[in-house]
């Protein structure tokens, strides 16, 4: 059974259009105009148990709407959707026992309650038997290091502290599928790294399926082997991260710092016949762009050194996922 299976999944919203000015407001009173917006347009998606999938797209691309359909919050306008074998909206109460949800921007905890009381209440809400609940929760508390936060009300926690508690909350009933909507938003680097490590661990140990939306492609690089990219409600890419990098990453860049200044033509001559580009960055600094697959970095460097170019420092750079995604959105996607 697939963890998530969607066919031609679509969500439309009726948006009320207001007219301009006061007189327009009066006309709206009598006769409203509505416009239909397709937030998610016939997407097909299938995710196998144990996969970690990154779901990315610009603001308003339809990410949150998809997640809300997948978690049973919204009813799809049309299309087929099965998550963990359930129809998420129609069989909501049974279905939500099998998933965990973290919305980075919104707490899943009760604002005024201390963390442990939230946990206690959730144990009752999910009807988790005591003998199953205790050891599992204790482990969560240890791994996420939230022992000393337990007696604090949620509203007094810092964002990073809250996020760790949110993760424990979402896993309290040991779901097989975890939805994370911007789980690292606003967190500092160390906390981010902790959370990523934690997610990797639970995925490995419990084979938990994870679907993650994020603006921080570092999350995706660290966690997901597969990315699904959304633009204006359509899936424009669904495949592995490495392929995306290979085809859109524009290859690698070698930054050289030389002992003395060279003429660009001198340098160009060293790599004659190879499809690389040179650029002068500063007086002693040059950049070589090595595209895709046609040529390897060692070959290029070998040539340069062979010709007696005196290199002092060297750096190898690769396009970050961020740059790749920006580029795709700017230029439009042409690969499937």
């Amino acid at each position: 059974m697939l963890a998530i299976e969607a066919k031609k999944l679509t969500k439309e919203f009726q948006v009320y259009q207001s007219r301009k000015g006061l007189s327009g407001a009066f006309r709206d009173l009598l006769n409203r105009e509505y416009r239909t917006i397709r937030a998610v347009n016939e997407i097909d998606l299938s995710i196998k148990p144990g996969e970690m999938v990154g779901y990315i797209g610009e603001n308003g691309a339809g990410k949150s709407t998809t997640i809300k359909m997948l978690t049973g919050i919204l009813q799809p306008t049309s299309g087929m959707l099965k998550v963990n074998g359930y129809d998420p909206h129609r069989e909501r109460e049974k279905f939500v026992r099998t998933i965990g949800v973290v919305f980075g921007q919104r707490s899943q905890l009760w604002w005024d309650l201390a963390v442990q009381e939230s946990f206690q209440l959730l144990q009752k809400v999910y009807r988790i038997p005591h003998e199953k609940y205790e050891p599992h929760l204790k482990r969560m508390i240890d791994v996420l290091n939230i022992q000393e936060l337990l007696d604090q009300p949620v509203r007094k926690l810092s964002l990073g502290q809250r996020m760790r508690c949110e993760l424990a909350t979402s896993l309290i009933h040991q779901p097989s599928l975890l939805f994370l909507d911007e789980p690292t938003i606003g967190l500092d680097v160390l906390v981010k790294e902790d959370i990523r490590q934690f997610l990797r661990d639970i995925n490995q140990e419990l084979n938990t399926t994870v679907l993650l939306t994020t603006h921080d492609l570092g999350d995706i690089e660290a966690l997901c082997s597969r990315v699904v990219m959304l633009d204006k409600g359509n899936i424009i890419y669904d495949g592995d991260m490495n392929r995306l990098k290979r085809e859109w990453g524009d290859g690698k860049r070698i930054v050289l710092e030389t002992e003395r200044e060279y003429e660009l033509s001198e340098l160009l001559a060293t790599t004659e016949g190879l499809p690389v580009e040179w650029e002068k960055k500063a007086s002693h600094t040059y950049e070589i762009r090595v595209p895709g697959d046609q040529v390897q970095v060692p070959e290029v460097l070998g040539r340069v050194i062979e010709r007696g170019i005196a290199i002092q420092e060297m750096q190898l750079e690769e396009a970050t996922a961020e740059e790749i995604v920006r580029k795709i959105y700017q230029e439009g996607m042409t690969i499937d």
């Binding site: 939500v96 949800v101 309650l113 009381e117 209440l121």
Partner: protein, 261 residues
Amino acid sequence: MVQFQLLWEYFKQYMKARLEYRWDFISQFFTDLMSQAINLVFILVVFGHTQHLGGWSRYEVIFIYGYFLIPWAVFTSFFNLWGFNDKYIIRGELDRVLTRPVHSLVQVIMESMAPESLMGVLTGSIVMGWAVWHLPLDWAWYDPLLFIMFVLGGVAVYAGIYVALTSISLYSDSKSDIQPIVYNIGTYGRYPVNIYSKIIQFVLTWILPFAFVGFYPASYLLGNGDWKVYAMLTPVIGAVFFSLGLYSWNRGIENYKGAGS
């Protein structure tokens, strides 16, 4: 049964969180008490000028008011849905509720209950007791059972109407001002309906049947047979209106558009 256990858990947590804001708790308690006292004084002032109101004596009207306070208190404790639009729709808390395996309305009710209003049951009983002291009433053994049924029916009438009004927010996220209006009409049920015009009587019986919350059952308990049929209809009307409320809520959840991003 599980739901009641859950209600109890929420209740405990609620009281804990609520007691942290001590002054808020106490002031809410006294505000309730004050408004109940003012209503009582109002009745007493009216009877300072007249002996009868639509054929009802002073203590009978006080009895009706005291009775009304009981379903009212239960309703205001458990269906404290005033902030629903702000908290659940605009701030998006409904998303969280919908990812939990309990009926959404049950969760919302549990999260917004105000158990301190249950004190109204006590005040109502005292007011009723005071009236009964001065009235020659003769109750049968089954009257207490009817009383409980009437109270539950009355609560269901209120609950159904307010749940239906609250679920408007699920269809359209704009604020509606209809709630306070209906809330005010709701308090009409605490006086004998035969003092109102025919149209208002009709509205209070069939459209917004608040007369079933206070007057009809209370008049039966006062031994007045004129409205006996209506009194007996209380649980039925309650069931019908509560079902309507629940239906419109469930439809609303299907229509829910989600908050923001």
